[in-house]
């Protein structure tokens, strides 16, 4: 049996930083599934399971990730109730450090 597909995250949360550019993101999520648990750096893909009255235990593919939706906001996607811890680093771009 092949692995199940990874579901689109059911919940999202915006982090507005208003830096005017896309900073370096270091983010972790606390995961508690049958196959993966503890604090994990994101993005992450993992398997979870749920009880279904008709089929019994069913395996679900989960993912937690994020995107810069513009220069001021980062959007995080995750299943409901997942705790995410984020650290942002200043990242000067083309006109600053980078040659």
């Amino acid at each position: 049996m092949s692995a199940p597909p990874f579901d689109e995250a059911t919940h999202k949360k915006d982090l507005v930083h208003n830096l005017g550019y896309k900073p370096i993101v270091r983010a972790f999520a606390k995961i508690d599934s049958y196959s993966t648990w503890g604090w994990r750096q994101i993005p992450i893909y993992y398997y979870d399971r749920e009880w279904d009255d008709m089929f019994g235990w069913i395996i679900l593919g989960r993912k937690i990730d994020y995107e810069h939706i513009d220069d001021n906001t980062i959007r995080f996607y995750a299943p409901e109730g997942v705790e995410i811890k984020v650290t942002l680093y200043l990242e000067p771009r083309k006109d600053a450090w980078y040659g």
Binding site: I42, I44, K85, A96
Partner: protein, 401 residues
Amino acid sequence: MLGMANKPITKVARANHDARYTSDVNLSFSSEWKTPKIFKQTGVAQPSFTLGYVTSPAGVSGDYYIDGEENGKRAYTNGEYWIWWDGVDRWKLTNTKGSGTVIFYHPEDAFQQNTPYGYYLVGTGVGSFSGWYGATYYTNMAYFSRNNGNLTWNNPLGYIPSFLAFRKLSPDTPDVGYNVFTGEEYTYSLTATKTDPFNEGVTFLTDDLTIIPFEGDDGAYALLFLDPLEGTPPTEYQLKNGAVYLLGDGDVEVREAFPYDNSMDSRFDSFKIFKTGTLELSLPAETIATSAESKVYTATVEHNLGYPPVFLPEATVGWGISTFGDEYIINDNLGSIRSPYGIGVDGEPHIDVYVDSGNLYLKVTRPSYSFMGREYTASKVIMYYTIFYNEIGEEFDFLDI
């Protein structure tokens, strides 16, 4: 209590900027920021392998270690017996590397594997018997598995700290579609590129750190920060050693504050920038012939530090990208890292970012289709990199000072 308005602020500007007027991105330091405080680096440096499930001959079981090559692939020995590639279609287990009487051999699909992991069958058929429906059973079978010597670090902090994680790649590292790694390359450890991690990688499964190298890798390393992921750092910290440089953040007494609360604290390591720049790949519009080998485009920057340095952005190998568009900036898409849906013919294009003791690499792989020519549009792939003096794999612990 002093108000925040009276808080003394120290700012240091980069060259050609005035710290009083310039924006934050042009400062090299501000006491209003917390600098990263790395208190520990540790990891798993050497992989080992276990051969089990064997009843005879005596001495063939146990731990095997890499020892040279045979016919272009790594060879393994437990000091008495050898597992080696015959250059044709078998991983063989004998008492002499490259020759000798075969005790076990890997089954028929061995030619597809760069590694000898999996089940071995008796080479001569001795020890097998036929059961129901003509199935053959083996009374003596070997199983060769990786045993990376997983590491647990007992965390004395009282809270769970933040971390960075790295992989040491190897010729056995799967999922990039070509054999480019020699065992001296490093990249970020992100389980986003593992569809079934089962706790491989670096994590705090409990209050303690656990390191389990990815299957196929030669090792894994963690770099630990004082920043808390869960729990609260202590409010006081007794300074154990003098001759340090401390810079407070506001009204905190720097010598009593927990180091995390200081802006700068020389008792701990921080990130030290060695070099920054831009790597750019101009991918042409092209059609790759049916079932042709993947085309690999590479951009490198030399650092010649003589050791693998920590770098940014936090990219990794085996990063699937369905389409790059006209321009794809690595730094802006790190939140979407995932594994490709396939490697090689009919697979997905992917990015590999890794470092060794001489260079930082950015690679893009474009696979073909098996049923028609595969068309690609022109794309520019850009990576704004920072290489630090910090060494991946260095071992230290600054907690007890």
